[in-house]
Symmetry: C2
Subunit: 329 residues, 2 copies
Amino acid sequence: MGRIAVTDGMDDNAVNHLREMGHEVVLQHYTHDELESGVLSEFDAVVIRSATKITEVVIKNSSGRNGNLKLIGRAGVGIDNIDLSIATNSKVAVCNTPSASTHAVVELTIGHLLACARHITTGDRTLREGEWAKKQLRGTELSGKRLGLIGFGRIAQGVGRVARSLGMTLHTYDPYLPAEVAADEHCQLHDEIDEVFRLCTHISIHCNLTDETHHLVNAERMKMMPGVGIDNVPCGNHIVNCARGGIVDEVALLEALESGTIASAALDVFEEEPALDNPIVQHRNFHGTPHIGAATSEAQSRIGDEMATLLIDFFNGRKPKSMLNPEIF
Amino acid sequence: MGRIAVTDGMDDNAVNHLREMGHEVVLQHYTHDELESGVLSEFDAVVIRSATKITEVVIKNSSGRNGNLKLIGRAGVGIDNIDLSIATNSKVAVCNTPSASTHAVVELTIGHLLACARHITTGDRTLREGEWAKKQLRGTELSGKRLGLIGFGRIAQGVGRVARSLGMTLHTYDPYLPAEVAADEHCQLHDEIDEVFRLCTHISIHCNLTDETHHLVNAERMKMMPGVGIDNVPCGNHIVNCARGGIVDEVALLEALESGTIASAALDVFEEEPALDNPIVQHRNFHGTPHIGAATSEAQSRIGDEMATLLIDFFNGRKPKSMLNPEIF
């Protein structure tokens, strides 16, 4: 039986299921100082979302000779808040729930692409302000345009399928992707990321945040975008990011919105979160959401189910299915 | 050669094309009084959008013994602003451009469905107000839910195809629809409209405004909606109207938003337009756009092309393709 800290919340059903299986579950958020001083050493496992940072100090002061911590469960996908190599060196297992939130992010991405193209948030904002801005809000259609997907994993593939049903054609840059996966999804795979920017009026980000992808969407690449669709309609250029903050250079994006290089942009993720004093959120041609890509009842329920299964497998001596450092098992 | 009044604007390419063909095109908006006093009697044809009302008096004072008016062209679909029976009695042809704006409305409808389910406008509004409302904005997915399409013409069929790609199942009420059309589109056709409301958590309106459809979405029917998807997820009930104002009873909708019977609603069309003092636009779970369903560059260009063809055919003595009173030709 294990003692499990859940620091950023987890679906009720999953908590109940773990308790029914005899595990102790403590729902408690800890400050960065508490974590670094070893508060997790009393736990066998910790389940986090994005709000808890598991640094080198946290791991060292909670595992091995200093504590019981043997598993870090990320209820979600991105593990940029976990020091994976230190966890591996310290023989602490790291697991995430890679597919549970896929469809939630797909739907939000399509929603943001359409809200950009059709000025949905501006339409609502002006209505609330007592203005009937019908004449100023002529938009363009996604149909007949090229969508550039940066990264072509599960989420991008899902976005691509819906975008094709809307009449878009697909392009991607993903240096880790087998060519046949792109071909199966009717998506043109490019060797050079700049080629995707040169071709596409709509760019959507679906990669991890790494040194390689930091500020991958920069001033130079935004200037390459064509502004005109396959259908010869001048639709402007549009950027959507529902992946991770920091992949888009926000200073460059705000300048591109000011100059008109970018006609509209939507971000669900920001370089600094919560994004409260960020000037970009006030721009007329910008709209944002507060990192709600996986925030659906369905995704949270699937994440909870997957995490409970991972934990139960681990405590029963079985290798958890989605372990990111399987070599230590 | 004809003399054509264009009262609510038309795409530049279409105007130029008509002029190149030798027709005189006058771009001029007229007041209701000017129209009723017979200002159109000097024209052979008038091209309108939704802002110009062609009443019995307008037709009688501009056609037959009182004037030259022989054709009313509606650049768009809905003809609730034209007295068709008086036009027919007066031997004035009425034409619209029924398919040119289909895809524009399809994309806006999907955008509104997703913006409802994922609180996109609320997310943006709270961000602009300096609030990081991540925890309050958990949404639900369209996947696994039933979409009820009221009317199953071209637009609804297009919405249905994209909704299916998102994982929704389709239901419709359309007393004028051949059953095989619904079957071909994998949509269940119901004989009773109430059955669609009893089954569906998401309702989207795609019919004309007539006596039969006025306030078709009323308090009683909204209360029938199940609030829970096929996937057993309590997603609440959602209403989208990108068709015509007046089909949804707005007083009943506002009450249903207040009580929570309806979790979210999006309107592109209103009982009275422009919708400036309408209390519904201020509700937290409402979002709206100012009648921009057909407001894309692509749709306006296609509408202009179709209207120019209709006018040129008519002035050359050919029957225009989409004539709504072909019996007079």
